[in-house]
C-alpha cells in the first residue's frame, strides 16, 4: 500500500456495522496493515443504504471499498448491496460481506447481488485481525 501513502491519500472505506466492538476490531485490523484510511461508519442498514445511494453524487466522495455486515438492524446487508448495484458510481468498487456465519443460501444471494467476497469474523482475536486486515488489503490491491 505504498502507493496510497506515496500519493498522500487515505483510503476511504464505507463500513456498515451495528456492533461498535467490531468497528474497533476492524479499525485495529486495518491499522495493523499499516493502512491510512478513513472509515465512513453506519450503524444501520437504512443509514448505509442512504450513504451508498449518494456516493459520487454532487461530488460526494466515492469509497474504495464497501464493508457490509450481513445482519443489520432494520434490514439486511442485501439491501445495501442492491443500492450499491444501482449506483453506477460504485461499479468496480469491491463490496465485501462481513458476518460470523452465513448459510450457503445467504452467501449465494449476496454473491448474486454483487458481493465481491465474504469475510468471516473469526472467533479468536488473532484470526480476526489477520483475516479481516489481509482480505481488505487484498481487495484494495486488485482494485487499484
Amino acid at each position: 500500500m505504498k502507493a496510497d501513502r506515496d500519493e498522500g491519500r487515505s483510503v476511504r472505506i464505507l463500513l456498515a456495522e451495528d456492533n461498535s466492538a467490531d468497528v474497533w476490531l476492524i479499525e485495529e485490523a486495518l491499522r495493523r496493515q499499516s493502512l491510512v484510511f478513513q472509515l465512513d461508519h453506519y450503524l444501520t442498514a437504512a443509514g448505509a443504504v442512504d450513504a451508498v445511494k449518494k456516493c459520487g453524487v454532487n461530488g460526494s466522495p466515492i469509497p474504495r471499498l464497501l464493508l457490509l455486515d450481513y445482519n443489520l438492524p432494520g434490514g439486511q446487508g442485501l439491501e445495501i448491496l442492491a443500492a450499491a448495484a444501482a449506483n453506477p458510481n460504485l461499479i468496480g468498487v469491491p463490496k465485501a460481506i462481513l458476518s460470523s456465519f452465513l448459510r450457503p443460501s445467504e452467501l449465494e444471494d449476496a454473491i448474486r447481488m454483487g458481493a465481491s467476497c465474504f469475510i468471516a469474523k473469526p472467533a479468536s482475536l488473532t484470526d480476526f485481525l489477520r483475516d479481516v486486515g489481509a482480505t481488505v488489503v487484498d481487495l484494495l490491491k486488485h482494485d487499484s
Binding site: 456492533n19 476490531l25 485495529e28 460470523s100 469474523k121 472467533a123 479468536s124 482475536l125 488473532t126 480476526f128
Partner: protein, 524 residues
C-alpha cells in the same frame, strides 16, 4: 271245494315287481283253469267265487285287472262290475268279462259298465295270457309313474324347504329375469305377496339386475356378492347384496339370485369411513400444528445459536485484546482471570458451533440420497479424527462394511461422533480401541461401534442422546451434543440408535440403516 277264495296263488310272497289280479267265477273248476293259465305270468292272482267276495277284495287291494264271470248266482258279473266301479278305489280298475254268450245286448251292457274287454268261453289260454299281460304291463307302468311322481314331489318339497330355510331372500328366475320361484324371505324383504311376484321380472325388485353373460356357467362358489339397490313394494329403497348363480335345468338355464338387505353393513362402513376421515383430518391438523411448532422451534434454535455467537465472539476477542494490550502489566491472578474469561467464552463458542451442527443435521435439507460406501465414510471419519487418534494412541479397526442407501454427510457425522466419543470417554487404564462392524438384518443393516472406554450406566442410556446432555466434567472434553447429532442423523436416515454398555469396560453404540428408508418405520 274248501276256500271260497284263495288270497294268494303260487309259493312266492308279494313282491314289488308283481301286480295283483283278481279272478271271479262261481265255478271252482273255472277258477282252477284260470289259475293254471295265468300261472306263467307269475303274478299274484286272487280268486273269488262270488261278487260279494270280489267286492271285499277290491276294498283291500288294488288290482291290475279283474277277470269277471258274467253268469253268477245272487249277484251276476254286471252287477258286481257296477259295484266295483262305484267304489273309488276300484273305479278305474280294468274289468275283463268272461262269458259263454256272444249277445250284443250283453256286450253293450258290459262296455257300458266299463268293461275293457270280453273273453268268450271256452277260454283260449294264449289269448287270455296276452290280454292279461297287457294290463299287468299297464299297471307296472302306472306304478313306475306314480313312484316317479312321488320322488319328484319329494325332491321338489325338499327343494322348497331348502329355499325356505335359506338365510337370504332367494328368487329363481329364467335367464331373462322372469320370476319362477321365490322364498318367503322375499315377501318379508320386499313386502310383496309371493304369488303376485311369480311371472314378473326380477327387475321389479332389483332394477339393476343383469342377466348373467352367456358362456360356460361359472362355478357358483366364485360368484361374488355385488351391491345393488332393492325396491320395496312401497317404493322405498335399500342397499342390497346380490349374489347370482346360474344352474342348468333340464331344458333351460335358471338363475338363483340371493338378495340380502345390507343396510346395517353399509351404515357401519359409512361410519367407519367417516371415523377414518375424521381421524385423518385430526392427524393432519395435529401434524400441521406440530410441524408449525417444530419449525418455530427450529427457527428459534437457529437464531439463538447465531445471535449468541456474536456477543460471545466479541467477549472472547476483547478478552484476548485486553490481555495482549496489558501484557506485562498484570499479575498472575489478573492474567488467570482473563484466561478464565477467554476459556469460557471459547467453550460457549464451541457449544454454539455444535448446536448449529445439530440443527444442520436435523434440518430437512436438500442433501442427496445415494448409495454410500460405509468403508469410505469410516475412513474419512478416521482421517478427520487423526490428531485425536495420534494423541491418544487409539486404534480404530473395521471389517467389511456394506454400501447402503444414505446421505453421506449424515453418515459421516454419525461415525465421526461415535468414534470420537469412544476415544473421548476413554479409560485411563487402557489404550482406547474402537471396533466398527456391521451385520445384515431383514430390513437393512445394523452397525456397531464398540469401545473399551469408561462405559455408561444403563439408567443413562436414553439420557445421553439428548441435546447438551453430559455425564462428565470437562475432563472428557465433550460439548454434550455429539450423540444428539448422531440420533438426529440416524433418524433422518430412517434408522434407530441405542447403546449397550458395561460401566468400566466399554460401550457398544448400535444403529440401524433401513434398506428402504423412504418406506418409513412402518415396515421396519
Amino acid at each position: 271245494m274248501s276256500p271260497q277264495y284263495v288270497s294268494e296263488v303260487g309259493s312266492q310272497s308279494p313282491s314289488p315287481g308283481r301286480v295283483k289280479l283278481l279272478a271271479v267265477d262261481d265255478d271252482q273248476h273255472n277258477l282252477v283253469a284260470l289259475q293254471a293259465i295265468l300261472e306263467s305270468l307269475d303274478q299274484d292272482l286272487m280268486l273269488a267265487e262270488n261278487g260279494t267276495d270280489a267286492l271285499r277284495l277290491c276294498l283291500e287291494h288294488d288290482f291290475a285287472a279283474i277277470l269277471l264271470d258274467v253268469r253268477m248266482p245272487t249277484m251276476d258279473g254286471f252287477e258286481t262290475a257296477e259295484m266295483i266301479r262305484s267304489r273309488r278305489r276300484s273305479h278305474r280298475t280294468p274289468i275283463l268279462f268272461l262269458t259263454a254268450y256272444r249277445s250284443d245286448e250283453q256286450l253293450f251292457r258290459g262296455y257300458d259298465l266299463g268293461a275293457v274287454d270280453f273273453l268268450f268261453k271256452p277260454i283260449v289260454p294264449e289269448i287270455l295270457q296276452s290280454k292279461v299281460k297287457v294290463f299287468v304291463e299297464l299297471r307296472r307302468s302306472e306304478e313306475r309313474l306314480q313312484r316317479q311322481t312321488e320322488d319328484l314331489k319329494r325332491t321338489e318339497r325338499m327343494f322348497r324347504d331348502v329355499l325356505e330355510a335359506a338365510p337370504d331372500a332367494m328368487v329363481i328366475t329364467n335367464e331373462d329375469g322372469r320370476i319362477e320361484l321365490a322364498n318367503s324371505r322375499v315377501d318379508m324383504l320386499f313386502q310383496y305377496s309371493r304369488e303376485s311376484l311369480l311371472g314378473q321380472n326380477i327387475r321389479t325388485l332389483i332394477p339393476e339386475w343383469e342377466r348373467l353373460t352367456a358362456g360356460p356357467v361359472r362355478d357358483p362358489s366364485v360368484q361374488l356378492e355385488i351391491r345393488q339397490t332393492g325396491v320395496r313394494r312401497d317404493g322405498t329403497l335399500f342397499p342390497a347384496g346380490i349374489t347370482r348363480s346360474p344352474f342348468h335345468a333340464s331344458d333351460s338355464v335358471l338363475v338363483t339370485t340371493a338378495i340380502r338387505d345390507i343396510t346395517i353393513q353399509v351404515d357401519a362402513e359409512a361410519r367407519i369411513q367417516q371415523t377414518n376421515a375424521d381421524l385423518e383430518r385430526r392427524v393432519a391438523e395435529r401434524t400441521a400444528a406440530l410441524s408449525t411448532s417444530n419449525e418455530a422451534l427450529r427457527q428459534f434454535a437457529w437464531a439463538a445459536s447465531h445471535d449468541l455467537q456474536e456477543p460471545i465472539r466479541t467477549v472472547r476477542a476483547y478478552a484476548q485484546w485486553l490481555s495482549e494490550a496489558v501484557n506485562g502489566r498484570l499479575g498472575d491472578r489478573e492474567r488467570n482471570m482473563l484466561a478464565i474469561i477467554e476459556d469460557h467464552a471459547s467453550r460457549l463458542n464451541q457449544l454454539l458451533g455444535a448446536l448449529r451442527q445439530y440443527i444442520h443435521v436435523s434440518e430437512s435439507g436438500q442433501q442427496e440420497w445415494a448409495p454410500v460406501d460405509c468403508k469410505e465414510v469410516v475412513a474419512a471419519a478416521v482421517a478427520t479424527l487423526q490428531t485425536m487418534i495420534q494423541e491418544t494412541g487409539a486404534s480404530v479397526e473395521w471389517g467389511a462394511l456394506p454400501i447402503v442407501p444414505s446421505i453421506e454427510i449424515l453418515l459421516l457425522q454419525v461415525f465421526q461422533n461415535l468414534i470420537s466419543n469412544g476415544i473421548k470417554y476413554r479409560s485411563h487404564e487402557r489404550i482406547p480401541a474402537i471396533r466398527i462392524s456391521s451385520a445384515v438384518t431383514k430390513t437393512g443393516w445394523i452397525f456397531s461401534v464398540m469401545d473399551n472406554g469408561i462405559g455408561i450406566e444403563a439408567k443413562y442410556s436414553e439420557y445421553i442422546f439428548g441435546v447438551f446432555r453430559r455425564l462428565h466434567t470437562v475432563e472428557h472434553s465433550g460439548t454434550g451434543i455429539g450423540l444428539s447429532i448422531c440420533k438426529a442423523a440416524v433418524e433422518r436416515l430412517g434408522g434407530q440408535i441405542w447403546v449397550e454398555s458395561t460401566p468400566g469396560s466399554g460401550s457398544v453404540f448400535s444403529f440401524t440403516i433401513p434398506r428402504y428408508p423412504h418406506l418409513g418405520n412402518r415396515l421396519q
